[in-house]
Symmetry: C2
Subunit: 181 residues, 2 copies
DNA sequence: AATCAATAGTTCAGTTGTGAATTATTCATA
DNA sequence: TATGAATAATTCACAACTGAACTATTGATT
């Protein structure tokens, strides 16, 4: 493990420890652990990379993603709960993110009409303009990140990831309906 | 989109917005965006699921992972920098995590011998015992999360994820050697 | 119609993670 | 040998996220 290897692969330090762990814990699942670690590692790196591209626009992956969920909705409006579901962020985090986007003039909040408990969050014209300005930037970034894959590989990766989501949904449902341990 | 669909797939709200976005931004890459969002979604759910399993042991995924990197190292000891590399956490976060693990008596810190700037972090006997106690729990959890995949699928997923890491390494290297935008 | 359960969005307190700055130490260079 | 550059670990201030609690509102049940 020298500097050349380190440059070649940001995952190799983790990998060495996983391999060695197997020698001591015979039932340790190297394959599963490796996948879990790779997945997490990719997310850290991806977020870091995306945030670099978004920083000049005073956004990060989470705020961009939130804007895009509004953009992809009929009328560019959603309740905070719907926004949470679409973006994958927790509701309380959506409150914080919307506070920030509101302060930047990128979204607007109004009281819900049909349900007085609710709020409606919508894209402002500045928000809309920013998204369209960002489009080439993000298209290029994603092209960069996924550029080594063939079409077939992209499709296979998507199939596998969807399978994983379905399993996770089930696992979380099962785990949260269990009695407390 | 009704309650039944929601139960079936935690990703469908995001998916609908991605699809609709394409209609408005013709160059928008649905495939790449979907993959990026799936990947992030899986990580959120996985972390949530793992933390549920680890909570009874007063640990979470990050602290467990840190312990495991020590466990998988000859002599169960690493400098904080090496630990950061192995775990994928930033150095300052390693300081915080080690503070916590030290307070729990799971790791010990001593001054480095060869280099007076450095520290050596090692697993305590309690830390070692806890890892071995956790082994069946984590093996079962990972078996649960990856249980729907065939061996061939696991291997293909690993191949694809490694390809992605290699690309990300290159992309981040390129991005950080560019002049500031 | 009254009562209770569930819900929307937010607040609040705490947890988790990060980058810049710092100080002592080590390494590289002339 | 002296000087300057690079580095290890940490501190510090801040960013980002979370779960419990809360209040007003809506939905379900009797």
């Amino acid at each position: 493990m020298n500097a050349t290897d380190k440059i070649a692969d940001s995952f190799s330090d983790a990998e060495a420890r996983i391999a060695r762990t197997r020698r001591r814990l015979p039932k340790f699942s190297v394959q599963h652990t490796t996948l879990a670690r790779l997945s997490r590692h990719i997310n850290k790196l991806s977020q870091e990379r995306a945030n670099l591209a978004l920083r000049p626009f005073a956004l990060n992956m989470v705020s961009y993603n939130t804007l895009m969920m509004l953009y992809g909705t009929e009328g560019h409006r959603l309740s905070p709960s719907q926004l949470a579901d679409a973006s994958g962020e927790k509701r309380t985090n959506i409150t914080r993110i919307c506070d920030e986007l509101c302060a930047k003039g990128l979204v607007e909040r109004v009281a819900g009409v049909d349900d007085r408990r609710s709020v409606v969050v919508s894209l402002s014209s500045s928000g809309l303009a920013l998204i369209e300005q960002l489009q080439p930037v993000m298209t290029q970034l994603l092209g960069d990140l996924y550029g080594d894959f063939t079409i077939a590989e992209l499709q296979e990766l998507q199939r596998l990831l969807r399978k994983q989501v379905a399993r996770l949904d089930r696992s979380l449902r099962a785990a949260s309906s269990e009695p407390a341990t």
